[in-house]
Symmetry: C2
Subunit: 394 residues, 2 copies
Amino acid sequence: MRKVAIVGAGMISFGRRDEDSLVDMLAMASTRAMDDAGLGDRAIDAVYVGNMAAGLFNHQTSVASALVDRLGVLPAAADAVENGPASGGSALKNGLLAVASGYYDLVLVAGGEKMRDVIGPRATDIVASMTHPLAEYVYGITLPGMAGMFTRLYMEKYGVTPEHLAQVAIKNQDNGLLNPYAHIQMKITLEGILTSPHAIVNNPMVADPLRLYDCCPVSDGAATCLLCPADMASEFAKPPVVIAGFGQATDTHTLQEREDPTDLKAVRLAAQQAFQRAGLTPQDVDVAELHDAFTILEIAESEHAGFFEKGQGAKALAKGETRIGGKLPINPSGGLKSRGHPVGATGVAQVVELVWQLRGEAGEHQVEGAQVGFSLNFGGFGNNVVSFVLRREP
Amino acid sequence: MRKVAIVGAGMISFGRRDEDSLVDMLAMASTRAMDDAGLGDRAIDAVYVGNMAAGLFNHQTSVASALVDRLGVLPAAADAVENGPASGGSALKNGLLAVASGYYDLVLVAGGEKMRDVIGPRATDIVASMTHPLAEYVYGITLPGMAGMFTRLYMEKYGVTPEHLAQVAIKNQDNGLLNPYAHIQMKITLEGILTSPHAIVNNPMVADPLRLYDCCPVSDGAATCLLCPADMASEFAKPPVVIAGFGQATDTHTLQEREDPTDLKAVRLAAQQAFQRAGLTPQDVDVAELHDAFTILEIAESEHAGFFEKGQGAKALAKGETRIGGKLPINPSGGLKSRGHPVGATGVAQVVELVWQLRGEAGEHQVEGAQVGFSLNFGGFGNNVVSFVLRREP
């Protein structure tokens, strides 16, 4: 298998983008990635699109071939990959395998979702289409509902408190203030969202114990990576970042079938696989982008991925170890909480952020001297998780 | 890149399957493929699902991880691939690249669609979600509408007649009568569907010049292939069939932008690539499964893939050359016309049929002595086409 490098990275600002269609957004992010690489007139061989539900959000299918046409890179092969909120990670994995196989050299992987085409609770219903149709969806469960139950169990088992959850939100919104691509640009404080008498108004309960600021926003957005064999990377403008390892694992469709619902087995396995393939360990990681669709997930994933012992993630957070400047900065981009979570975009956006970090191009939210990055993209409620270890080539 | 073999093939009968969910169907076809291979207790590494629009047809997403759980092959990696009506072909291509890359050994590729969950014209509307949202869909175009315009142009340019179209339908429904997996099991005659005074009632116009029997039915169904590196194939129960080549190409999103709308450029390129990678030519092919969603497409694809000169496909058909027993049997399974076209299933079902043909297991619709098979899966209106050349290993 060939070693694969990322030679171009592009993103557009996440948020509410009423004037841009899904394909518009994918094309803008992709053009930026191609420009970033200094692609010139080299031909793209294949395009992957990570997208969860353009059918439901936008009544559109076959988005990947539409993107190929829009970008003017005909007759490149085009495939869309769907894996719920881990669609971006899955698309990137398939782009990676396509280059690793030797069949394709230049592969563009774009992730995107336009969620704000639908109104109000419809977005939550569309996201809930990944739950089990007969054992979960039919009873009205939503992802915030599942996450609420998971949070309660995790709090009881590991001593996580509402303050810890709020600290994830505060840290990530602080980071988002430094990231021009972030959807939510707003300073929040522990007093404002938790301890003052107005907190219940500022930060209402969504799914007990999760409040509004424990949940990521509903966003539009797109991000793109350009991949090539590592031995071609020197032909491009920027220092290459190598995909040193990837992991992907599936867990039971329903939460209720897991022996211990607080054990995110697929997160553990995906991270282990990625580190094993990279020949690295969690201790080697300088910066991580985790899937904080709900605040509890950043804490739980930081433990399951091997950065902290079980029960220690919240403590490390409270000590500031996961802030920019701390021992292991987590979500310097602002994460899903602040950058936003256009579902199909997220897995690619995490990796674009890491590419910028490893190149030293992350601007105000730069983690100094970062050489190794880790991403974790969480599909379903931990059903299907995709993880990457990236390394700046020396 | 590693050579890849198909060691298991399974399908369920296509048709109206009210009692089976999409995941039920995918699981049944996959169980058959695993049994066919004599999988035993070997672990599946990854599962790909080809599916176009479970979100819209069934309000379900993340179908691939649901299938992994249902099959009990956790923690296999799971990805769904969407590429309109070529979703099955795209999924198979990505399964192929995954094995070729060396990252995965045993990969299951299932294609499926449950289209009969929606009522009446809603299925046609969902399929039309692959057209251009601003340049086509908004004007009410449907796939039958596009195919009708294409047919008229093709008839004028190449002398194709309504009789030729009817002959495709008659041949493929005759073949379908020999295939227990086919949705449409019904003898039709030229008199009944075209020349008798009752023909207009039996076979009403859908999109002039296409009549009812020129269009494939709306079906539920699923099919699965099990892939492994060719050098592992001898560990399995059946003689391996090698994926000798694949091709995939994209064309403009809108029909109107093509210089000559009768020129199916992506079909030509995908077929050329597949033959080139296989080191074979159209003359080497013993049996072909083409994408006859509309009768004209079988004729046009048989020319664009290189089996006949432009304008000669209809003549070869009229001479009986494409019947079982003819020079180049096309769609011995009955094709999309008779087996049915559950969109995401089709690309995989074509290849399952070829595996059976190359093993000599196709029963009453067997093409005697077939050694090389060709499939063509047509997405969009020729926007994104995936093609395979399969070979029975000597």
